[in-house]
């Protein structure tokens, strides 16, 4: 027993030190900087010309994206639950595509598809002038946010509004529509609200899409303004303004999240047993066809055509030429394949792999500590990092450790750990919640010491969650550009930063080729891991009819 307590104490110590150094210290240092150095300037900064429009743009963008993405994602989740939807398995994967495509690639691909001298312009002579305006930015951020809403509501549908409840309503005389209104949507309420809060907060911190699509046309948000302020690093006032803005972003996020959490938290924490069968009552066949057609149109317009345009630009000799075979070339790819970019790619993959591995350990430790009272506060702190905008974290780390680590890969790694901790913690914690406590008890009563019990009966059922957490962290770190673009120095550019810089230099063909490369770099490991996780889950499913038998104890 004393051994277990020592173990717990040591774990708590490690996790606390990590949380304090990567999250709390940067925030406190920022607050102190604004307090001391900003002083009287804060009032001036907040009333500066152009700044109020950036704050207003940020807020309006977040509201508009939330209002549009939440109904769209919910509708998709409901439609994809229909058992008679043609091509259901395919759409379920296609809808999640924006998760695998970095947001700056998505934004850039929309420019290539619908902008002037873009794909539709070359082929049909039509282009959408709005694509480079706030409207275009909003639409693409919505497309980027839809998978998140879809995932949260789909999980909510599977876990809360069990099909039996809809059947009970149908057999009580409700029509398909009235059951949706009176049973399904009210049961989905908490999940929808969670999705709305998350989308709002993540949109506040979104940087790459407004930067790539909006800033050439003069549309600025808080995040893009922080970025341009830091580029003018010689101006001390610009730096103070950036820090002030970063803190303002946190204040807005907390003002939204805190009341939402107080309202929703208790309801969300009620866990329900998920049923295996999450399909709805079969609807009409015509309805299924309409839904499938709608999803197909959305997928083609929002993702298919832009990504196709991106590839077409990458393999076409010059901008303005039609993407036909006689104009095809590999020059853009050859231009991209140089030593500098190769090093950037290696750095990105290495950084992402190290960050993901550290994060899975830290996330697992917090999930384990969460089961006791002492660890719960820590878990809350970790969950809160989800709403900390990347720009804020990056500036905080720069202020706290920039003197020693500025421009190195180490500071980028710290930023990834701070930003993605919640991403690693959530799936592991969820899997631990589903693990029946009796399985661990059975191992202990069979003679296993705490660590042996965890290794023999917890780790195996947890493997899919651990792998999923690693994958999510790895992919997100590989995408990451908000923090990297603020923190990188000579010799520490990541591939994402290279793509962003190339887009800003206006190298259309090269940027497209780089975007294709970075997307492929993401797709290949994603596919591999997806197969691995499916294999692990299938193994578990085939074992499930057998009652769990604790492994024979071999205690050290």
């Amino acid at each position: 027993m004393a051994g277990a307590r020592y173990l717990r104490g040591a774990t708590l110590g490690v996790v606390t030190v990590a949380a304090v150094s990567v999250v709390l210290t940067p925030l406190l240092v920022m607050a102190r900087t604004v307090w001391i150095e900003g002083g009287a300037d804060v009032a001036d900064i907040l009333t500066a010309r152009g700044l109020s429009s950036a704050v207003k743009n940020t807020f309006l963008l977040a509201v508009a994206v939330t209002v549009l993405a939440v109904p769209l994602g919910t509708a998709l989740a409901l439609a994809l639950r229909r058992p008679n939807l043609p091509g259901r398995a395919v759409w379920r994967v296609v809808i999640l595509l924006p998760v695998l495509v970095p947001d700056f690639v998505l934004g850039y691909s929309w420019l290539r598809a619908y902008g002037r001298a873009g794909f539709t312009d070359d082929l049909l002579g039509v282009h959408w002038p709005g694509v480079q305006t706030p409207v275009g930015v909003t639409v693409v951020v919505v497309v980027n946010a839809v998978p998140l809403v879809y995932l949260i509501t789909a999980v909510g549908l599977a876990a809360r509004s069990e099909p039996a409840m809809e059947r009970a309503a149908r057999v009580s005389g409700g029509t398909a529509l009235s059951v949706l209104r009176t049973i399904t949507l009210p049961l989905l309420g908490p999940a929808t609200a969670t999705a709305a809060v998350l989308v709002f907060v993540l949109t506040l911190g979104t940087f790459a899409i407004p930067q790539v699509m909006g800033s050439p046309a003069g549309f600025s948000t808080i995040t893009t303004r922080i970025y341009s302020n830091l580029a003018r690093s010689s101006d001390p006032l610009a730096f103070t303004e950036a820090v002030t803005l970063a803190l303002l972003l946190v204040v807005i996020a907390v003002l939204v999240v805190a009341p939402a959490d107080a309202l929703l938290g208790p309801r969300l924490r009620v866990t329900r047993v998920a049923t295996t069968d999450s399909t709805s009552v079969a609807g009409s066949r015509a309805g299924g066809r309409w839904a499938a057609t709608g999803i197909a149109c959305y997928s083609v317009l929002a993702m298919g055509l832009p990504l196709l345009a991106l590839v077409a630009t990458a393999i076409t000799r010059a901008v303005g030429l039609a993407p036909t075979p006689e104009n095809w070339t590999l020059d853009n790819f050859l231009a991209v394949l140089n030593a500098r970019n190769g090093e950037a790619l290696g750095r990105s993959v290495m950084l992402a792999a190290v960050a993901a591995s550290v994060l899975v350990v830290l996330g697992g430790l917090v999930a384990a500590l969460e089961r006791s009272r002492s660890g719960r506060g820590l878990a809350t702190l970790v969950s809160l990092t989800l709403v900390l905008p990347g720009s804020t974290l990056a500036l905080g780390l720069l202020l706290a450790y920039g003197r020693w680590l500025g421009g190195t890969l180490a500071i980028i790694l710290l930023a990834y750990i701070a930003k993605l901790w919640a991403f690693a913690h959530r799936p592991i914690s969820g899997a631990l919640d589903r693990l029946p406590p009796d399985e661990l008890h059975a191992a202990r009563i069979s003679g296993a010491a705490p660590l042996t019990a965890i290794r023999t009966v917890v780790l195996r059922p947890l493997a899919p969650a651990l792998l999923a957490a690693w994958l999510v962290c790895f992919l997100t770190a590989l995408h990451e550009v908000t923090m990297s673009s603020l923190l990188y120095g000579p010799g520490s550019e990541t591939l994402a930063v290279v793509v962003l810089n190339s887009a800003e230099l206006g190298q259309v063909g090269v940027t497209s080729a780089l975007s294709v490369v970075i997307t492929l770099v993401l797709l290949i490991p994603a596919l591999g891991f997806w197969i691995a996780i499916r294999g692990l889950n299938r193994g578990k499913a085939s074992l499930s009819p057998v009652p769990p038998v604790p492994e024979p104890a071999h205690v050290g």
């Binding site: 039996a164 009970a168 149908r170 009580s172 029509t175 398909a176 009235s178 009176t182």
Partner: protein, 345 residues
């Protein structure tokens, strides 16, 4: 046929190619209670869900009150069928109070909120749970939840009630009370009912007729006494209660013996290998020349394990080996086949 509340003809349902029901035929007369008895996985829930309209059959038809509601080509949605259902997992809505749950069917019929709630309260009070009207499912015990589920079904005022193992998740002491309540209320309404269960004792007591289901097929239909005394095969016998199968030395068919059809002290020899005290009665497992035999006698055990004793048979039922492979035609099998068979010597 049109006089029946429910008429199921040649119903065939499969899930992605795996058959769940094959050519099931059933009739339920107005006011009649038909019990569906079968092991888990036999297709009970599938049959109820197809009658309710949650699944469409691949072949066959469902008729309700002389109206065809399900066929391979067309399926009426559940809300347009004249039936109500009580679910195994209660299926109560976490966001609605007991009162609003029971008011739900009336609201869907078009009644105003106050009217529907007033009716719901009357039903809840009739089931002695009126004081729970404002509670949500999370604040109710299992027995209370299932009473609310029953109240919701009653509020539908249907001519057919479907009960999908409604007592499966109830404690045994709540189960009896709930079951008595359920039968009384269903009889009050004069409606017909289909009651799915895997517990023979509970089913035989409440049903007018019993249908035995195995591997998606109906293997026997009859009154509770018929299916208990004259099972069509060994599987049917095991579904309807404890039974022993004895061989006869003469090579004539094997016979089924219910525990109370045999008694201790008689003309045959046996040895006690197990004794169980069950409260009102005691069970003995005997090893005999003809096989292992379960004997049930009232009162506490009179013999120890290992004792040599004698026994006799008062009744037995010969297995007709040819019908061991159940054909669909067996489903409507009349029970006028030879009943009591002479004890094999």
């Amino acid at each position: 046929m049109s006089a029946d509340t429910l008429h199921v003809r040649d119903l065939t349902v499969s899930y992605s190619g795996v058959p769940a029901l094959s050519r099931v035929c059933l009739n339920v007369a107005p006011g009649e209670v038909l019990a569906l008895l079968g092991p888990s996985g036999s297709g009970k829930s599938t049959l109820l869900h197809t009658i309710a309209g949650f699944h469409s059959p691949q072949a066959g038809e469902v008729w309700l009150n002389g109206r065809r509601v399900s066929s391979a080509s067309r399926s009426e949605p559940p809300e347009r069928r004249d039936l109500a259902m009580v679910f195994q997992n209660y299926a109560l809505w976490p966001h609605l109070s007991a009162l609003d749950t029971v008011a739900y069917p009336a609201r869907r019929r078009g009644d105003g909120r106050n009217v529907a709630r007033a009716q719901a309260l009357v039903i809840l009070e009739r089931l002695n749970v009126g004081h729970l009207a404002d509670r949500h499912p999370a604040e109710l015990s299992g027995g209370e939840q299932q009473r609310v589920g029953l109240a919701r079904a009653l509020a539908r005022r249907a001519s057919l009630y479907l009960f999908d193992e409604p007592t499966a998740h109830l404690d045994s002491h709540v189960r009896g009370v709930f079951l008595a309540e359920l039968v009384t209320r269903q009889r009050d309404t004069g409606a017909a009912a289909v009651y799915a269960a895997h517990d023979a004792e509970e089913t035989l007591g409440l049903a007018d007729r019993v249908a035995l289901l195995a591997h998606g097929r109906v293997i026997q239909v009859g009154t509770p006494q018929q299916v208990y005394r004259e099972p069509v095969n060994e599987l049917a016998a095991k579904l309807t209660g404890p039974v022993s199968v004895l061989t006869s030395p003469g090579g004539s068919p094997r016979v089924l013996v219910r525990p109370e059809w045999a008694s201790l002290d008689g003309d045959r020899d046996g040895r006690v290998v197990e004794v169980w005290f069950r409260g009102p009665h005691s069970d003995y497992v005997l090893v005999t020349d003809q096989g292992t035999l379960l004997v049930r006698e009232p009162g506490p055990p009179r013999h120890e394990r290992g004792a040599q004793l004698t026994w006799r048979l008062s009744h037995s039922w010969a297995l007709r080996e040819s019908t061991m492979t159940a054909e669909p035609s067996v489903s409507q099998l009349p029970s006028q086949t030879p009943s009591s068979v002479a004890v094999p010597e």
